[in-house]
């Protein structure tokens, strides 16, 4: 089908406008992070920083707050919850999809409920427990509600439905133990689903703010999102530092995006299954 030249131009112009809208905040963040406090208060605004070699804002971020520690905390929490969630939800998906037992659908429904129940509806008792069992300001406390996602269970059940039962039966006849069958035969079959969940779970955990805000108080236990917020507590908002800190918080995710771009597109499209 041939396209008229005017249609083509229209598509390019619209695409360009949207691309600018989407990328501008990133660009402005990076540019501002190289500006000195004097520069950001200069009117009229100079678009580019005077010098891209000015890294003083980044140094200041690290001096002011243990920002590397924040990043390390976020990495730890996100990786752990990601791995844990994959293991537990893959097992659950397998059990729900390929076995029959009493109350199966009830259990599944029980887990699916939490697609709708907002986290805020469990946060008060969770917080009270955390205080009671001294889990505030600990990694255990931080990671506890992020460990298994109900969406993950749902997604893995969908994934397991595609695995042919004959494959599992054949493995059983060959005398493979149940766990061995699951680990060696079934898991490789749902690789794309596992990758999808890994990406989504990591992104969600990295960007999580509400729970870490509630549960952490000590500086060395803060995650990146809460650490970022701590730059706003001052009387005067220091955007040269905030933008530098924001750049640092985004870099790991952008690297991940660059590596897994295709997987991320697929992951988002698949998360549309949630219907």
């Amino acid at each position: 089908m041939k396209m008229k030249i005017t249609t083509k131009i229209l598509i390019y112009v619209l695409a360009l406008i949207i691309i600018c809208f989407m990328l501008f905040p990133f660009l402005w963040m990076v540019l501002t992070s190289f500006k000195t406090p004097a520069e950001i208060q200069r009117l009229p605004i100079s678009f580019f920083p005077d010098s891209f070699k000015n890294l003083s804002n980044y140094e200041e971020v690290f001096n002011r707050q243990p920002f590397m520690r924040f990043i390390a905390n976020s990495m730890l929490i996100s990786s752990f919850s990601c791995l844990f969630s994959i293991l537990i939800t893959t097992m659950a998906g397998y059990g729900f999809s390929k076995f029959d037992f009493r109350f199966k659908e009830f259990f599944f429904f029980l887990i699916l409920c939490f697609l709708i129940v907002p986290f805020q509806a469990v946060v008060v008792p969770l917080f009270q427990w955390a205080v009671k069992f001294h889990l505030a300001d600990t990694y255990t406390g931080l990671v506890l509600p992020l460990l298994v996602s109900s969406f993950g269970v749902f997604l893995m059940r969908q994934g397991m439905d595609v695995v042919p039962i004959e494959l599992i039966e054949a493995a059983r006849i060959d005398g493979s133990s149940e766990f061995h069958t699951f680990y060696k035969i079934v898991m490789p079959q749902v690789k794309t689903f596992i990758a999808t969940q890994a990406i989504i779970k990591f992104m969600w955990s990295w960007n999580e703010f509400f729970w870490p805000l509630v549960i952490t108080n000590r500086v060395d236990m803060k995650v990146v999102t809460v650490g970022l917020q701590s730059f706003t507590n001052m009387y005067f908002v220091e955007y040269h530092l905030i933008t530098a800190a924001a750049v640092l918080s985004v870099v790991p995710m952008v690297i991940m995006f660059a590596i897994f771009q295709r997987g991320i597109v697929r992951a988002v499209a698949m998360s549309g299954l949630k219907g």
């Binding site: 989407m22 605004i45 703010f209």
Partner: protein, 294 residues
């Protein structure tokens, strides 16, 4: 007889596979949820809690601050959701139709990149762009002969400003889902429409939109839920101000629980929020069942 023992053994194995997940959800989610529900019927005074029936609900539902937060939440949802959907639809169509692969790929990356950023970081950046004095947006407005705007520090502009953050973060997500839907529409429908002399605009409204129905409903509901649960954007930029004009429901809940330490009232608000989200989800379920067939 032998078959049955085998089945119960198999059932047990299946149960063992789901057991960790079930246990986790029972302990970390179901139990606290029930506790929240119970908390909403009690009140605490000097460490002694007593049953008060629906008293907390009465109190919350007559609290003007609660209604203010609810109205602000509704306002935010009403602005951000339609714009997100229309923009996402536009992006999806552009991705589908773009004759150049370079433009297509750039648009896809650009629309998904915001998803990589936390709402916290995005809010801080937008607050800087929208700064009343040194913000680049105001500089642009002045260049085009308009007045500087206060944005986040104005009671009337704060919710639309928060909505822009929400839209920016969400467009890529919705566009990707809609694109998957667009690509599943068989091309022969369009060819038939072309032969019948239908204009592209007409075939968009008569073929594309109806066949995209389930994806659009899905995206609408996801976006509504996301907007109703908005917290980070507001907490970071304004903390609910100025004069509570951006206080949203989750922020109200957060402050009730962790600033005023009224756990019972916070639990009541949480249950009401849950009911609201449940109603929205039931809507989704009803609409999703309406399948369009040609």
């Amino acid at each position: 007889m032998r078959k049955r023992t085998y089945n119960s053994r198999k059932g047990l194995i299946g149960f063992l596979f789901v057991f960790p997940a079930v246990l986790y959800f029972l302990v970390v989610y179901t139990y606290p949820f029930i506790q929240t529900f119970l908390l909403s019927f009690f009140t605490e005074h000097r460490g002694v809690s007593s049953f008060v029936g629906l008293e907390n609900y009465k109190e919350v539902l007559t609290d003007s601050l609660f209604w203010k937060s609810l109205i602000n939440t509704a306002y935010l949802t009403l602005i951000s959701v339609p714009i997100t959907i229309v923009l996402a639809l536009l992006v999806a169509v552009l991705l589908d139709k773009s004759p150049s692969i370079l433009v297509r790929n750039t648009l896809q990356i650009a629309s998904l990149l915001p998803m990589m950023m936390s709402l916290v970081a995005a809010s801080l950046i937008f607050q800087w762009i929208f700064d009343p004095v040194y913000g680049i947006l105001n500089e642009l407005l002045v260049k085009f002969g308009m007045k500087k705007q206060p944005f986040f520090s104005s009671p009337t502009q704060v919710i639309p400003s928060v909505a822009i953050i929400t839209i920016w973060i969400r467009v890529g997500f919705s566009a990707t889902i809609l694109l998957a839907g667009l690509q599943s529409i068989p091309t022969h429908y369009y060819e038939a429409a072309l032969i019948d002399g239908a204009s592209p605009v007409k075939s968009f409204f008569k073929i594309t939109l109806p066949l995209l129905n389930s994806q659009i409903v899905l995206v609408c509901i996801s976006e509504i839920i996301f907007a109703v649960k908005a917290f980070d954007q507001v907490f970071i930029t304004t903390g609910g101000g100025p004069a509570n004009s951006s206080r949203v429901i989750v922020l109200h809940l957060y402050e009730t629980a962790f600033k005023w330490f009224d756990y019972n009232e916070a639990s009541t608000i949480a249950i009401l929020l849950f009911v609201l989200l449940m109603i929205i989800s039931i809507f989704q379920w009803v609409f999703m069942r309406k399948k369009v067939e040609y």
